[in-house]
C-alpha cells in the first residue's frame, strides 16, 4: 500500500463519504424519533401488515412488525434504505477510484511515480473499504445515540443484535464493493464501469426483492448476494452466521483480488 496515495485519495473522497455517513446517521435518528409515535399505533399498523400479502412484508423486512424498536429499525432502515445508500456508495466510489482515473488520464501520474500497479490498486481498494467502514460505524453510533436519546430505556434494546445488523450490512457490502471494484478495475471508460456496476448491484438487489415477493420466483433470491443479509432474521436471532460470513468474505476478497490482478495485467490507454 502507498501511504501518500491513501492520504490524498481519502482527502479527495472524505467529503462525499461523510455526506453518505451523516445522511445515513440523520436518517436512522429520524427513524428512532418517529418510533414512539408508531408504537402507539402498532396494533393497527400490524393489522395493516397482516392484511398485505405475506411476500410483500417479507420483501421489505417488515415481518417483525412495528411493536419492537429492533423490529422497526431492522425492517424500516436496514431492510431497504441503508442497503440503497450503501449500494449507491459502492457503485459510485469504486468507479471513481479506478475507472475514472484511467478514463481521465490522471492514472498516468500515479503510475509514473515509483510504485507498482498492485500497490496502487490495493490502496484504492483500501480507500473504498475505509469509506464503507466509516459509513457503517457512524450509522451504528448514531443508532445507539438515537436509542438513548429518543427511547431511553436501554434494557429493552438488544444492543448486540443491533451491532450484528451493522456487521451484516458491512459484510454484504464488503462483497458488493469487491464486485464493483473488479468491474471498475476492468474498464477504461468511466460511464461503462458505472453502468456495469449499477446493473450488477441493482440486479442482485432486484433478484432478492422479487424472489421474496413471489413464491414461484423464490429461487431468484438464492442467486442474489443480498439474500445473505437478512435484517429481520438477525434481530430474531435465526441467522446461521457461518455460511453468511464465509460466502460474503470470500466473494469480497475474490473481487478485490481479481480487480488488483486484472489491473496489473492489462494495457492502459493513458
Amino acid at each position: 500500500m502507498n501511504m501518500p496515495l491513501y492520504g490524498q485519495m481519502l482527502k479527495n473522497h472524505l467529503r462525499t463519504m461523510s455526506s453518505y455517513a451523516f445522511g445515513s446517521a440523520f436518517y436512522i435518528l429520524l427513524m428512532f424519533w418517529i418510533f414512539p409515535s408508531m408504537k402507539t399505533q402498532s396494533e393497527s399498523l400490524n393489522a395493516l401488515l397482516g392484511s398485505m400479502p405475506e411476500g410483500l412484508s417479507k420483501a421489505f423486512g417488515l415481518e417483525n412488525g412495528f411493536g419492537s424498536v429492533d423490529g422497526f429499525i431492522s425492517g424500516e432502515y436496514y431492510g431497504l434504505l441503508f442497503v440503497l445508500i450503501l449500494s449507491i456508495f459502492s457503485i459510485m466510489t469504486s468507479t471513481q477510484l479506478m475507472a475514472r482515473l484511467v478514463d481521465q488520464g490522471s492514472m498516468a501520474y500515479l503510475l509514473s511515480a515509483p510504485t507498482t500497479r498492485i500497490k496502487v490498486a490495493l490502496t484504492q481498494a483500501l480507500v473504498l473499504l475505509t469509506g464503507l467502514l466509516l459509513i457503517t460505524a457512524i450509522t451504528t453510533l448514531a443508532g445507539y445515540g438515537g436509542y438513548a436519546w429518543f427511547i431511553g430505556d436501554l434494557n429493552e434494546f438488544d444492543s448486540s443484535r443491533f451491532l450484528l445488523l451493522n456487521v451484516g450490512a458491512f459484510l454484504l457490502f464488503f462483497a458488493v464493493c469487491g464486485i464493483s471494484f473488479f468491474i471498475s478495475a476492468l474498464c477504461n471508460d468511466e460511464k461503462r464501469a458505472l453502468g456495469a456496476s449499477g446493473v450488477v448491484v441493482f440486479g442482485f438487489f432486484s433478484l432478492n426483492l422479487v424472489g421474496k415477493i413471489s413464491d414461484q420466483l423464490s429461487w431468484m433470491q438464492h442467486i442474489s448476494l443480498f439474500s445473505l443479509f437478512n435484517p429481520a432474521g438477525i434481530v430474531k436471532g435465526t441467522v446461521d452466521w457461518i455460511p453468511v460470513v464465509v460466502i460474503l468474505l470470500a466473494v469480497g476478497l475474490a473481487g478485490f483480488a481479481a480487480g488488483i490482478i486484472v489491473f496489473r495485467k492489462r494495457s492502459l490507454l493513458l
Binding site: 501518500p4 479527495n12 498516468a108 509514473s112 511515480a113 515509483p114 507498482t116 494495457s267 492502459l268
Partner: protein, 294 residues
C-alpha cells in the same frame, strides 16, 4: 540508457506500432518525430509501462518497464501528451502530492523551476489555461532530477518565450548528463535540442538519423523581394532552384547549400527576405527522394 526493442502492438483495425526499435544513449536528447496518429504516444505508453507489448520489450537502465514496475520509475520523469490532473487540486497541492509519491524532492529545485516557468502554483488546476497546465506538468517531470525525462509533445500550448525557457532547461539538464526522449510533430520544435531523431510513420520507424543529416535534407523556402525587376530577372537566371515568382518576389528552394544562396542574393538590392520551413511530411519525402537517387 533507454532501449526500445522490436515493440509491436496491433490494435483492432490493424492500426498500431510494428517492430519499433531504437536506443537512446545516456546524456543524449532524442527526438521522436511523426505526424499525428503515427504511433508516437502508443510507443511512449509502452516506454512508460502503461501498455504491455505484444512482442518486444522496453528497458530503461536495464529495467524492463512492463515487468519491473516500481523500480524504473525512480529514474524517470514523465510529461504526458494529454495532461489530466485529479480534480479539485491546485498546482501546489498537485506538486506536493507528486513530491510525496516520489518520496520527497528538493524544494529549492521545485521553486526554481516554478520561478523560471513563471506561473502561480496556487491557481486551481481546473482554472488553468492549457499552457499553464503544461508548465505544471513540466515541473512535475523535472523536479525530482530524474536521469531520464520522457516528454510527449512538451511545447504544445507554450508561447514562444516559454518555449525558449523550456529549450534552455532541456539544454542545461542535458549538460548535466540527463537523457531525454521527446516526441513532436514538428521538426523545428526539436531541432534546437536534439542530437538524433527517429521518424515514425504508420506505426513503423522509417529512419533514425543524426539531427544534422535531417537538417541537411530539409528544404527551406526563401521568399526574396527585390527592389527592381531587372535584379529579379538576373537572379532568376542564377541557377538556383526557383519555386515560383511573382512581381518582384521570388521563392527559392534551398536544401543544405545556404552559402550559394547568400552569395547569389548578396549581388542585388533586396527589400526583404521571408523564410518558410518545410513541414515534416515533406522532409520525409525529400529524405526518400535522396535515398533513391544515391
Amino acid at each position: 540508457m533507454l532501449t526500445v526493442s522490436q515493440v509491436t502492438k496491433v490494435f483492432p483495425g490493424s492500426k498500431g506500432i510494428f517492430d519499433v526499435s531504437f536506443t537512446v544513449e545516456k546524456g543524449e536528447v532524442f527526438g521522436f518525430l511523426g505526424p499525428n496518429g503515427a504511433g508516437k504516444s502508443t510507443t511512449i505508453r509502452h516506454i512508460m509501462g502503461f501498455m504491455k507489448p505484444a512482442k518486444g520489450y522496453v528497458q530503461i537502465n536495464g529495467y524492463d518497464t512492463w515487468k519491473d514496475q516500481g523500480r524504473f520509475q525512480k529514474l524517470v520523469g514523465y510529461l504526458p501528451g494529454e495532461i489530466a490532473f485529479m480534480e479539485g487540486m491546485t498546482g501546489k497541492s498537485f506538486l506536493d502530492f507528486m513530491s510525496s509519491l516520489r518520496g520527497g524532492v528538493s524544494q529549492e529545485r521545485r521553486a526554481e523551476l516554478i520561478k523560471r516557468l513563471q506561473f502561480d502554483e496556487r491557481t486551481p488546476i481546473r482554472k488553468m489555461s492549457k499552457g499553464m497546465k503544461q508548465k505544471v506538468g513540466i515541473v512535475a517531470a523535472f523536479m525530482h532530477e530524474p536521469e531520464v525525462i520522457i516528454l510527449d509533445e512538451p511545447t504544445s500550448g507554450l508561447d514562444p518565450l516559454m518555449q525558449k525557457v523550456f529549450i534552455e532547461l532541456v539544454l542545461e539538464e542535458k549538460a548535466k548528463g540527463t537523457t531525454f526522449l521527446m516526441s513532436s510533430h514538428s521538426f523545428s520544435e526539436i531541432e534546437r535540442t536534439c542530437d538524433r531523431a527517429a521518424i515514425i510513420k504508420d506505426g513503423k520507424i522509417i529512419a533514425v538519423k543524426n539531427i544534422h543529416e535531417l537538417q541537411a535534407v530539409q528544404r527551406k523556402l526563401f521568399e526574396v523581394t527585390f527592389e527592381n525587376r531587372a535584379d529579379r530577372d538576373a537572379f532568376l537566371g542564377s541557377g538556383l532552384t526557383i519555386d515560383s515568382y511573382q512581381d518582384n518576389q521570388v521563392r527559392v528552394s534551398v536544401q543544405g547549400d545556404y552559402n550559394r544562396f547568400t552569395q547569389e542574393a548578396s549581388k542585388y538590392r533586396i527589400r526583404s527576405i521571408d523564410l518558410f520551413t518545410q513541414n515534416l511530411e515533406d522532409i520525409f519525402m525529400d529524405y526518400y527522394d535522396r535515398e533513391g537517387r544515391d
